[in-house]
């Protein structure tokens, strides 16, 4: 008998706790919020913000996929790129006709800008000539610096094959 009363009391207490005293049914929100927060934390931690990509526009020569030097009346500026280091983690840029090697993209940009100002035109073709197995980042770097120096005609030298 005492047990039965205790049971009734327990049911009454639960009813009060869930606010069902007036016969209303309220779903338990706590487990849902727990799961929701777990999901949220999972996605926040696993989400990786990818850096924004863009395009540097260029053109390819019509003939054979190489910079056609003979088609242009102006003597082009050739940028040779040599790999440096055992893992080719660096590169040296050399402008044709100049003895000094340039170590950084900023130096290359400065030289290209100076050449453009000295010649007074941005129509001079630039031919980027990465040697051996120079990593793509250095070829792209040279291309970017030529575009940055406002040259209009920038292309790549052919490789064997």
């Amino acid at each position: 008998m005492a047990k039965e009363e205790e049971k009734h009391e327990h049911h009454r207490t639960r009813g009060r706790l869930r606010g069902t005293g007036k016969g209303k049914i309220q779903p338990p929100l706590t487990p849902m919020i727990d799961v929701t927060f777990l999901l949220l934390i999972f996605f926040v931690l696993t989400a990786s913000v990818s850096p924004e990509e863009g395009n540097i526009p260029g053109t390819l020569p019509r003939a054979a996929g190489v910079a056609a030097e003979e088609d242009v009346p102006l003597r082009p500026i050739r940028i040779s790129i040599y790999p440096v280091g055992s893992k080719r983690e660096a590169a040296q840029f050399t402008l044709e006709g100049e003895g000094t090697s340039l170590e950084t993209p900023s130096e290359l940009y400065g030289r290209l800008l100076a050449r453009r100002d000295a010649l007074g035109t941005d129509e001079i073709p630039i031919i980027i000539d990465p040697r051996g197995n120079v990593r793509w980042k250095f070829a792209l770097e040279a291309y970017n610096q030529a575009i940055r120096a406002r040259y209009k005609n920038v292309g790549f030298a052919p490789t064997g094959g």
Partner: protein, 166 residues
Amino acid sequence: MADEKKQQEQRGEVSFNMTPMIDCVFLLIIFFLLASSFASERLPQLQPHRPEDSQALPREDTETPNKIIINILSAEDEVLSEDPSVSGVASHYNIDGSRIDAGDTSTLADVIRERKERAREGDFFVEVRADWRVSYEEVAPVMRAAARAEIENVNLTALTAVAGEY
């Protein structure tokens, strides 16, 4: 509802209003669910280079009928430890999820030609999206294949400049 609140206030009970918080949490979850799936479907994972004072213009859309994105993936991603034999080597090309062996430029030129024929006349272009670690000699054949397919416009993918860096 208003009566309940009044009663609670009269009893001196304090309760949190959970509804706006749950709304925000659900919105965030939906955002992350959608954003994560889009990111994985769009472009294959590789490491483009960010040049100094990058001149790259933000890409408008990845799915334009008038362009073809040629992804050049590095073989260095396919080995667990540092292996000098794969240094600078391209593992394969990836075009819209389909794989072409690195160096198979005749297939590549055929794919570019086929896509060009399907595209609107005039403004078709190739986008070369290469991993910064591959050698130039792995990228040059792709540009040659594009030239063989009589493509004049080629865009090189790079990361855009970070605001305030230069």
